[in-house]
């Protein structure tokens, strides 16, 4: 009979091995799913994970890895701070949208002024927008004890409606012949989040993601606030006796993750996406939850997990065009990954012992 034995401490080996095992298991399960869809599973998996990196057109796809990975890493790094302390910001998608809207609003307000300060102001506005949107669940939780999971989620749907209203109304391109959607920032140099080195996919969002990862690493490892976050997550009561203010943690964690999600949205709208449009958001805020867990809520892990998840997006697109694999299959594949990871995580905290059944 199988028996679970709690480890005195989480296994260091399994902490890092579990995500790898989860990825391998998900590939097997995903392969089975692709086979059920009538595709050659090995070819499908190879297309998703090999083609973007080493395939014939890899020179085109490799930069995309940074473009898709940056928003995921930015958002997930912020989410992980809260998740560690048991503060669940599930509404990053909404903060991402609002950051894009506030960032774009500043850019559009300055149009067509060509000045060096337009883009920095947009960055500040984007971060501020995401921060403000996250402050709603944060303040409601601190003030009234309202569940931040539900409030931040409800705000995603509100933000989506606001996005549609903006794309159809105030932010609509006056020269757009009546089509919904704002002016395109790719045609407005002072506000364009362009590639820093042409052909690398390296835009300012990537720089921001790298800075965020480094800061989070230092914060969690070296700073008293990082210690308080970890302590609150592991032993909330002990943290309170140690003088940690739960309210302050809620405000800081939700605020930080909101600001980072807002930044991600702003860099996306002014760069790869280019404009405020109804279908601007593509679910990065939700996929980032998977990235955060897959990266073990650790900044370095998140950077790696973000790149892996970006790979599934790009490989998925290739598989869509070359194998006719439905886009939804990739979405399901990503969901599967989180599932398997949570199951495999058992090995981190528990030892499995084989034991003959005893008479009770």
């Amino acid at each position: 009979m199988l028996k679970l034995e709690k480890r005195p401490q989480p296994s260091r080996l399994w902490t890092w091995a579990a995500p790898l095992l989860a990825v391998v298991l998900t590939m097997l399960l995903g392969g089975a799913m692709f086979a059920a869809l009538g595709k050659d599973p090995i070819e499908a998996i190879a297309t998703i994970f090999w083609q973007p990196l080493f395939g014939e057109h890899a020179f085109y796809y490799r930069p995309q890895l940074l473009v898709k990975g940056a928003p995921l890493v930015l958002i997930a790094t912020g989410l992980a701070l809260g998740f560690r302390a048991g503060i669940w910001n599930i509404g990053a998608e909404g903060q991402y949208i609002i950051g894009a809207l506030t960032g774009a609003a500043v850019g559009l307000a300055f149009y067509p002024l060509e000045a060096w300060y337009v883009f920095p102001l947009m960055i500040i506005a984007g971060a501020l927008g995401g921060w403000l949107w996250a402050m709603i669940p944060a303040l409601l939780r601190v003030q009234f004890g309202t569940n931040e999971i539900l409030v931040s989620l409800m705000l995603v749907y509100v933000a989506e409606q606001l996005l549609a209203a903006m794309a159809l109304g105030p932010m609509k391109n006056p020269d757009g012949y009546g089509f919904p959607g704002s002016r395109n920032f790719q045609e407005y140099p002072a506000a364009h989040n362009a590639e820093i080195f042409a052909g690398t996919g390296m835009h300012w969002g990537v720089v921001a993601a790298i800075i965020a990862v480094i800061f989070a690493y230092i914060l969690l490892g070296r700073h008293i606030l990082g210690y308080q976050i970890r302590l609150t997550g592991q032993a909330p009561r002990a943290a309170r006796f140690a003088g940690v203010s739960p309210a302050r943690l809620v405000l800081v964690c939700l605020g930080t993750s909101g600001a980072l999600a807002g930044l991600a949205g702003m860099f996306e709208v002014s760069g790869p996406s280019g404009q405020v449009s109804i279908d601007f958001n593509v679910g990065y805020g939700f996929t980032a939850i998977i990235v955060a867990f897959l990266g073990r809520l650790h900044p370095v892990g998140i950077a790696l997990a973000g790149l892996l998840m970006a790979l599934t997006y790009i490989g998925g697109e290739i598989a869509q065009s070359s194998l006719g694999l439905p886009a939804a299959a990739i979405q399901m594949f990503q969901g599967m990954l989180l599932f398997v990871l949570l199951a495999v995580d058992l090995l981190t905290n528990y030892r499995i012992r084989f034991k003959s059944a005893e008479v009770a």
Binding site: L4, K6, W88, I90, I136, L140, F144, G145, T146, N147, I149, L150, V151, L153, M154, L155, V156, Y157, V158, Q161, L162, A164, A165, L168, G169, F286, I289, I290, F293, P326, A327, A328, A329, Q331, M332, F333, Q334, G335, M336, L338, F339, L342, A343, D345, L346, N349, Y350
Partner: protein
């Protein structure tokens, strides 16, 4: 805007319809939470039920079989959550989110090829004589069977929790799983059954949206109904009767804003569409002050002591 075009009788009648999916899903989640488990995957199970029910109803031509398939689909998906939280001892919040992300992906995959199709219609159940009463008739007695099912389910869940032995065990497991375990109740078994019940209810609620309320299939069509159902449970302070009140409140807001849209309100449609979510937040704020009624073991991992 022409407010006169809004017919109060029709408004109340459609309120009952709008309330039904979140009512059924919330009742399921209520039972799950009373057993001490927080399953945040309602949205994922609802959308899965919506597509399972839709596919089965279109395939067989029978809405009844559709609803049965939806319940089975929701319950089946919830088993994954049960496995993660009850056997792999995973964090319930993370597992619930995983269930929603997985369910959204799976439903999108299963739903390919069902876009733009009409499901077989579900007949309205005209209750003779009663349905002919002016005003009251159309509001209360001229609905499809699922509306009455929702009301009956509400009464059944209330009675089960309050009066039955099964309800007593369920509540004991939810209030103090260690004590329940010491008394010899099978905590994990009770919770797995509760989770499956919750999944079946969420599936039914989802299918109600795709088969009757809308009726068609579009990706992500539950649009947060699962999360509103979760909020309803908090609103109701974990009491079945108040879930019904809450569902009517949200059904009312939804229907009212749709009517205002149709009446040509000066506000753009998008702002009106926000209102159900904003009301949910408002109600959550008002109700959150008192958390004393939440089951004491809610969200805690149970592991049998040796």
């Amino acid at each position: 805007m022409d407010l006169g075009s809004i017919n109060p009788v029709l408004l109340l009648a459609s309120l009952m319809v709008a309330a039904t999916p979140i009512l059924i899903a919330a009742l399921g989640e209520l039972v799950v939470e009373r057993a001490g488990v927080l399953n945040l995957g309602v949205e994922g199970m609802m959308i899965t039920g919506a597509i399972c029910g839709f596919a089965a109803a279109v395939g067989t031509g029978s809405p009844v079989l559709g609803f049965i398939a939806a319940a089975a689909g929701g319950a089946g998906l919830s088993l994954l959550f049960a496995f993660l939280t009850q056997f792999a001892l995973a964090n319930q919040v993370a597992s619930g989110l995983a269930l929603t992300l997985f369910g959204l992906g799976m439903s999108a995959l299963l739903g390919q090829g069902y876009q733009g199709i009409k499901p077989p219609p579900t007949d309205k159940l005209d209750i003779p004589l009663l349905a002919d009463i002016p005003a009251l008739g159309p509001i209360l007695f001229n609905h499809d069977i699922m509306v009455y099912f929702g009301l009956a389910l509400c009464a059944a869940v209330w009675a089960m929790l309050k009066y039955s032995r099964a309800g007593l065990i369920l509540r004991a497991v939810g209030e103090n799983h260690d004590a329940a375990h010491a008394l010899g109740y099978k905590v994990v078994r009770v919770r797995v059954l509760a989770i499956m019940f919750g999944g079946a209810c969420a599936g039914l609620g989802g299918a109600y949206i795709s088969l009757i309320r809308v009726p068609q299939w579009t990706e992500g069509m539950t649009a947060g109904a699962g999360w509103i159902a979760l909020a309803l449970v908090v609103f109701a302070s974990w009491k079945a009767g108040r879930v019904l009140l809450g569902a009517w409140l949200f059904g009312g807001v939804t229907v009212l804003q749709l009517n205002l849209q149709a009446a040509g309100s000066a506000l753009p449609v998008e702002y009106l569409s926000m209102s159900p979510y904003l009301i949910t937040i408002l109600v959550l704020v008002i109700m959150s002050a008192d958390k004393s009624r939440a089951p004491a073991s809610l969200g805690r991992i149970f592991r049998a002591s040796q």
